[in-house]
Structures are given as structure tokens and as C-alpha cells.
Amino acid sequence: MQTTITLTVDGQRRTATVDTRVTLLDLLREHLGVVAPKKGCDHGQCGSCTVLLDGRRVTTCLAFAVQHDGAEITTAAGLGTADEPHPMQRAFLDHDGFQCGYCTPGQICSAVGMLAELEAGWPSHVTRDVVSRPQRTPAEIRERMSGNLCRCGAYVNIVAAIEQAAGG
């Protein structure tokens, strides 16, 4: 069964007619040629496919494309460019927060979304007092970034990068 949907991806309106079984990740990668979100597990276990969907971080391998007709999606390619990187991308470069780079677009989208969640006061598993505002501590960052695996083991650099991007 085919359905036609229209989304905004990295600022561009895109229309596609897709099999209803197509995931949002495969829509982006295989139909629209947007390859910044990566396929690492296809099961929501690694975070490599993370994008910002209507401003929130989402693993696109766990979403069907047809659920998101009209959505606004920002991938790492839409956050910044090689010449004008987003502050989070600049921080990942400064702290070498990656090696192979495959998890990186997902890490960066996740980090941007995560900081917004912190800013909005959302608690995490390591927030001791869920009533008051959570602080931007290394422990909070580590906990909230644990949905994004990095097999190269760049975690300490990723946390340092996020702290820099968040304002030190």
C-alpha cells in the first residue's frame, strides 16, 4: 500500500509516495537521499538515527514515515554546515567527540534535544530531586546521552563537547 506524504526536512519541503511499511529512517535515507541519520540497529537500541522531529529528539528507525506527514525534521545536516557548523558540531570538532563518525550525527541531534529537555526541567533517572529543576551536571549529561551508543568509545569527549556547547 502506497501513501503520499509531505514533510519539511532540513528546511526543505519534500514529498514522497511510500510503502506504508517504510520507516521514517528509510524514508530519509533511501527515498529522500538524506543520509545524515544513520542505521546502526534499526531497533531503537543505538541512537544513530536520531533526528529532531518537531524539535524533539526521536529515533527514526522506530517511526513509520506515514505517521509523520507534515512533520518538521532537522538532521545533523540541517543543524549546520561544514563551513558554518552548529555550536554543538563545533564543540564535537573541538573535543574530538567521535572517531568513525557513524554515530555522530545522531549524537549531535540527541545532544541538542537533550539540552532542550534539561532546559525544560525534565528529570532523568539520576535526578535526585524530581521536583526542583535538574542541573546540567556531567552525570545528568551522561545519563541522558546513554541512548546513543559510540563503539569507538568517545564518550568522555562527547560529554566535554556537550558541556562546551551548553556554555561551559
Binding site: P85, D96, C100, Y102, G153
Partner: protein, 699 residues
């Protein structure tokens, strides 16, 4: 060997491929622009051993969009069965669960996957055996162990030396099977152009030339008829060092569908049966020392598995041949051939499991003797390499231990293994272990350097950057070899149309490729002067290192780990880890530190989380995804640091480098288990150390 004057080597440069990677625009294998690709989805055997009796592809073929279904009954006949791992869809025999038995090619990935699930395969099952044990009836001694070490060694009378020792350790250490699990699952996009008789692969590989040379003969092609392209790959850790069965499958699919790009991206689950893994190991360590701690005997016996169809013999005991001085020494490797997936390289094959057991045993000996484990290691420093009898080009293990001890605060450690109260009611302890990794130089690699019209230099070599920083570090090497700034160098890698390069493996990349690039630069400047004109060109090849006849060449390191353990749940956390390494010159401190902390992070993962669990009844790796196979996450890694001692080694190569891709993982697990013992008094000798093992042991 003259070390070149170094201005760019040692400079802290940002990754040249960094801007593309942080914006997600660096293309990995599946991501090149392919017009109208087809999609291949494999079908895997659901039994561990037996024979296919029938394949019914009728329902699969009826799925709209299906273009072809290949099985052993209709796939192209391959030209060579020499390597049974690559003997794909050629026979009805099934030798391990998950082996490819068919592949569906369709217009879209959804149709290919649906159809693959509808392929009905019938089998005649035979009994299988997938469990490694040290008394396996079919144990055998391989001819050699990876890559080309003797299987066994014996030097002196170890039994007599053990009997004469004041203190001994005799213990069995075991490690679980581990899977490499790079973040990018193995992917091959193959295209067969019949008019040109040319096969083109965009492959996620650590060696484009390996892939070409191993695949071409299977299809009766000359190597020139195959192009392999890999500008960026999403990690590999050894599992992409050589082609695996999926490369063959992708080529079979492409040859069945000429003039079309066929994408074959393995799922995460498939990686557990077809893309290599580290064998589980059983290791017996016997150490004997005099009362002063001098080793009289060192015996390291290893049992591990291989597949029945292809041998891989991990060199687990080889580290014990050279690490410490000992009066008598023996090492052995025995393999059990099982009905299991083919094991292969995983980061520091041999050194990682071997040093875990050996360095845990050294810790046990130190406790038995009542000697500080650092002091015990220092007392057993060899004058020459015990394995070869040659002096070391450089060996700075003691400096690493001493500097690490100072930075870590080792002097305050309570060495007695006992329940030590730490923060928040948890138990706390610390541990140390040594690291080592040999300097490998591959025998073949060529580089070409051309002077471009704008006066810059184009450096070409078919090397691969699997995340190690080759795009940047090799350009730094070239810049110094040419006597110019980094901005003057344009590097091209990752393509078989470039000069032949060895695998990005064995921590050999910069040593091998850097030597070839340095030779090319030397030839260019010799032929054309220090300021060659545009159009000037020269090539260079990696040379044999004559100094290797006179010197043993190894990197060394020391790792320190602090653990905290919840006494109620057994949960183990690592609040601090420090590695100090002596690995020759560091080409780029930024990317080097990332490699070292990355290795240590994977080492913590080995120690505490990673285990591939095989079901003896089905032969199936039951935890075959990233929810079931736990790797270190961001929350697990806290204060983790790596630093190094500047080492001037004129013998290893013109850059003075030793290789850093693997040493970071070596010894980490031992430091963890030694710290857990220090914190609890409980010695667990079975990796990974999960909470249940501590609780069962009476925590």
C-alpha cells in the same frame, strides 16, 4: 633509520574529515548516490548443522517488487572453494546457524525483507556442538596462531621451576565470546557492468585491496576487473579487516542483476553470525616465583574455538612469551573445531584476552608474595625480549607504571584484598595492569605523490580510515616527509584505483603507509629537488625494516582502574581509569588520545558487560542485538584519561611511531578484575564480571 624532521608530526590538528562527519555528509558504503538501486536481503540457516533438502521460494517470488532469489541451486558457481567462508550459496551443507542459504533481491528493502521471510527452507539436521570446553574430544594444535606465531613454545623445565618456587599461582581464567559490533553494520553495494566486465563495490572495509584480491578469483576475474571504494567506514575493530560472506553474497546478487547497484546492508542481528567475532577462551596460568618475586616459571595454556569450515587461531598466549623475564616458560594453544560462526580478528586479538588472564595472574602472585604489584612487574623487567632474545628498540613499561602510579595516587593503596568501604556504602578498590602491543609493519604498501598545478602535493594510497584519524595523521606524515605545511598536502585514500595499501589493522597503518609515503616523498625530492615543479611525480614503497632483525619492537603501557561496588546488588561502576602509554612518537595528540581512550572504553566493556551467549540447543547467539549484547554507554564511562610518555625510537620507522589502535584495550580488563578483588576480596576469573558472579561468590 633517520627519523624525518618533525613539525606536523606531533601537532594537534582537528580531523580533516571532521566537518563532514559532524554534519552527516561523509558518505559511508550505503550512502553514495546510486541511481535506482536494488536491495538484497539474506536468508539465514535456522539450524547449526545439516543439509538443505528443499527450498520453496514460490511465496517469496510472488511478493511484488522481487527481482531475483538466489540459492545454492541457482547461484553462479564460484571458481574456488579454498576458503569455505566465501563458498556462499554453493552447497546444501549448513555448517553453522545463521549461514547464508539464500538471498532475495527486490526493488525496495521492504519487499526484499518480506520475501526473505517467506523463503521456506527444509533441512535434514545433524547433531551439532557449539560449546567450547578444555576437554573437547576433537582438540587439536593448529599449525600456527594468528598471524604467524608458533603454536607452542617451551623454554626450560617449567615443572621443576614451579616445584622450586616460593610462591605459585595456578588458576583458570575464562572469557566470553565477544562481537566487534561496529556502529555501521557491514554493508556492500555491488554493481556488475557486463559490457566493461567490471565489478564495483562500495564496501565497509578496513582494506579495499584485501577485498579486491580475495573476491576477484572467486568470480574468475583479474584484480583489475574489481574496484573497491571505502572513503569512510563506521568502525570495524577487525571485523572489516577482510571480506566476509556478505561481500560474496552481494557480488553474486549484483552479477545476477547486471548493470544495477545492489545494496546489501546486514542487519545488526546478522552481524552475530557472519561478520567475525572473538572466540571465547579458557586459559590456565601457572606462575612460580622466588621469595623476592623473580619469576622462575611462567606457563600459559589456552583453549579456544574455531569453526569447522575455516580455522582462526587467536594468539592468546603469545603475550606471555615476551612480557616478563622468567627462568622457564611454556605456552600452548589448542583449538576445538565447533559448529559455530567463523571467529576472526577483534581489536587486539591475542593480546586482549591473553593479557587479561596473564595480568590477573601477576596480581594474584603479587598478593601471594606480599609485594606491591607494580614492584613485582618492575622486578621482572627483562634485559632483552624473552621471545626473540633481541634487545628492545625501546621499552618504557617501568616509566608508564611509575608515572601512572604517581598520577593515580597508587602510594596510598591498601594492597590487602578485603571488603573496603567506599562512598555511599559501596565497596571501593583499585587495580593495575600492564599493556603491550607489537609493532607490525605489513610487507606491501605503495604511495604516489604528485605536484599539483597550484604547487600543492597530492598523496595517493589505498589506505582506509576506520575512525582512527588516517585522513589527518597520514597527511601530517606526508607534510613532514615533504618538508611542507599540512595545508600543502591533499591526501587521497580508500579506493583500489589508488596505489596498493595494506589493511587498517594490527595497529600497522601509520607504520606501513607512513613509511611508503615517506619513501615516495624522499624519491620525489631526490629526483626533483626540494621545490619540485608542478607535474613532478614519484612513488615509494614500504621497505622491510632491517632494524627488526636486531631489535624487538613493542609498545607498552600501564592501566589503573578504580571500582565501586554496591554490596547489595553487586553493581560495579568505574569512577576512574587512567592509562599511560609508551608507543613511540604520537602523530596527532588529539586523534591519538581518542584512540587510546576508545580502546580503554572497549576494555572496560570487555571486563564488565560484553558477552555473546550461544544457546547449546540451537547454536544461536541469543543476545544478538545491542539490547542484549551490552557495550559501554555514556553513563558507564566517567573519569577516564589517557596520556603518554614521549618516546624517541629511531628503529621502528621514519616517523618513530609504534601504532596505537589496539594497545588501549590491552590490560584494561585485568586492571578491572584486580580492582574488584582489591575492593571485595573476591577473585572472579570469568569475564565479563557481571553482578550475579559477585553475588554468587558471596559478596
Amino acid at each position: 633509520m633517520a627519523v624525518v624532521e618533525q613539525r606536523e608530526i606531533g601537532a594537534d590538528h582537528e580531523r580533516r574529515d571532521g566537518p563532514a562527519k559532524v554534519t552527516g555528509t561523509a558518505p559511508y558504503a550505503a550512502e553514495h548516490p546510486f541511481a535506482d538501486p536494488a536491495y538484497a536481503h539474506p536468508v539465514q540457516a535456522s539450524i547449526a548443522r545439516g543439509t538443505i533438502t528443499a527450498i520453496d521460494a514460490g511465496a517469496a517470488a510472488a511478493v511484488p517488487g522481487v527481482l531475483a532469489i538466489l540459492t545454492h541451486e541457482n547461484a553462479e558457481r564460484l571458481a574456488s572453494d579454498e576458503d569455505q567462508e566465501y563458498w556462499v550459496l554453493q552447497s546444501p551443507e549448513v555448517s553453522f546457524r545463521g549461514q547464508f542459504v539464500a538471498v532475495v533481491i527486490a526493488d525496495g528493502p521492504e519487499a526484499a525483507r518480506e520475501a526473505a521471510e517467506r523463503v521456506e527452507v527444509s533441512y535434514e539436521r545433524r547433531d551439532h556442538d557449539v560449546v567450547l570446553r578444555a576437554d573437547h574430544p576433537e582438540l587439536y594444535a593448529p599449525e600456527q596462531v594468528n598471524p604467524s606465531f608458533p603454536t607452542d613454545t617451551e623454554d626450560g623445565d617449567v615443572e621443576a621451576a614451579l616445584a622450586a618456587s616460593a610462591a605459585t599461582v595456578d588458576a583458570i581464567y575464562t572469557t566470553a565470546a565477544n562481537h566487534n559490533n561496529p556502529m555501521e553494520p557491514h554493508t556492500t553495494v555491488a554493481r556488475w557492468d557486463p559490457a566493461a566486465e567490471h565489478l564495483t563495490l562500495h564496501d565497509s572495509t578496513q582494506s579495499v585491496h584485501n577485498v579486491r584480491e580475495l573476491l576477484a578469483p572467486l568470480f574468475g576475474l583479474d584484480t583489475e576487473q574489481v574496484t573497491v571504494i571505502a572513503p569512510h567506514i563506521g568502525g570495524g575493530f577487525g571485523s572489516k579487516g577482510m571480506p566476509h560472506a556478505h561481500d560474496v553474497l552481494a557480488c553474486l546478487a549484483a552479477r545476477a542483476l547486471p548493470a544495477r547497484d545492489v545494496k546489501l546492508a546486514l542487519t545488526r542481528q546478522m552481524l552475530f553470525s557472519v561478520a567475525g567475532y572473538r572466540t571465547p577462551t579458557i586459559q590456565r596460568l601457572r606462575l612460580g616465583a622466588d621469595a623476592d618475586g623473580h619469576l622462575l616459571a611462567l606457563v600459559h595454556d589456552v583453549w579456544e574455538q574455531t569453526s569447522r569450515i575455516k580455522e582462526f587461531a587467536e594468539q592468546t598466549a603469545v603475550v606471555s612469551r615476551g612480557m616478563y623475564a622468567a627462568r622457564a616458560r611454556a605456552t600452548t594453544h589448542r583449538l576445538a573445531p565447533l559448529d559455530v560462526p567463523v571467529p576472526s580478528w577483534m581489536r587486539a586479538p591475542g593480546e586482549n584476552p591473553g593479557m587479561y588472564a596473564a595480568e590477573a595472574a601477576v596480581d594474584e602472585l603479587a598478593i601471594a608474595l606480599g609485594i606491591d604489584p607494580i614492584e613485582l612487574r618492575i622486578r621482572n623487567e627483562p634485559d632483552v625480549d624473552p621471545a626473540s632474545g633481541k634487545p628492545y628498540s625501546t621499552r618504557n613499561l617501568v616509566e608508564c607504571l611509575r608515572r601512572g602510579a604517581e598520577r593515580f595516587g597508587w602510594a596510598d593503596r591498601d594492597h590487602a584484598p578485603s571488603r573496603k568501604p567506599g562512598p555511599d556504602g559501596r565497596l571501593a578498590g583499585t587495580g593495575v595492569a600492564a599493556s603491550t602491543y607489537p609493532v607490525y609493519r605489513m610487507s606491501v604498501s605503495d604511495a604516489t605523490i604528485d605536484v599539483l598545478p597550484d604547487g600543492r602535493y597530492r598523496v595517493q594510497i589505498g589506505a582506509v580510515d576506520l575512525g582512527t584519524g588516517t585522513w589527518t595523521a597520514l597527511a601530517q606524515v606526508a607534510a613532514d616527509a615533504l618538508g611542507v605545511g599540512l595545508e600543502q598536502v591533499e591526501l587521497q585514500i580508500g579506493d583500489t584505483s589508488l596505489p596498493h595499501a595494506s589493511v587498517a589493522g594490527g595497529s600497522s597503518g601509520i607504520t606501513t603507509w607512513g613509511t611508503a609515503v615517506t619513501e615516495a616523498a624522499r624519491n620525489l625530492l631526490e629526483a626533483h629537488g626540494d621545490h619540485p615543479d608542478a607535474g613532478a611525480s614519484a612513488t615509494g614503497s614500504v621497505s622491510k625494516n632491517e632494524a627488526a632483525k636486531r631489535y624487538a619492537m613493542h609498545a607498552f603501557g600501564a592501566q589503573f582502574v578504580a571500582v565501586q561496588i554496591d554490596p547489595d546488588t553487586g553493581e560495579i561502576t568505574v569512577p576512574r581509569a587512567l592509562g599511560v602509554f609508551a608507543a613511540g612518537r604520537i602523530v596527532n595528540p588529539r586523534t591519538a588520545r581518542s584512540q587510546l581512550i576508545g580502546g580503554m572504553t572497549m576494555g572496560l566493556s570487555t571486563a564488565l558487560w560484553e558477552q555473546s551467549v550461544i544457546d547449546p540447543v540451537t547454536g544461536h547467539y541469543v543476545n544478538h542485538d545491542l539490547a542484549g549484547y551490552h557495550v559501554a554507554t555514556c553513563a558507564d564511562i566517567r573519569d577516564l584519561e589517557a596520556e603518554w610518555i614521549e618516546e624517541d625510537d629511531p628503529h621502528v620507522n621514519p616517523m618513530g611511531t609504534k601504532g596505537i589502535g589496539e594497545i588501549g584495550i590491552v590490560g584494561t580488563a585485568a586492571a578491572v578484575v584486580n580492582a574488584i578483588h582489591n575492593a571485595t576480596g573476591i577473585r572472579i576469573r570469568d569475564l565479563p564480571i557481571t553482578p550475579d558472579k559477585l553475588l554468587t561468590a558471596g559478596l
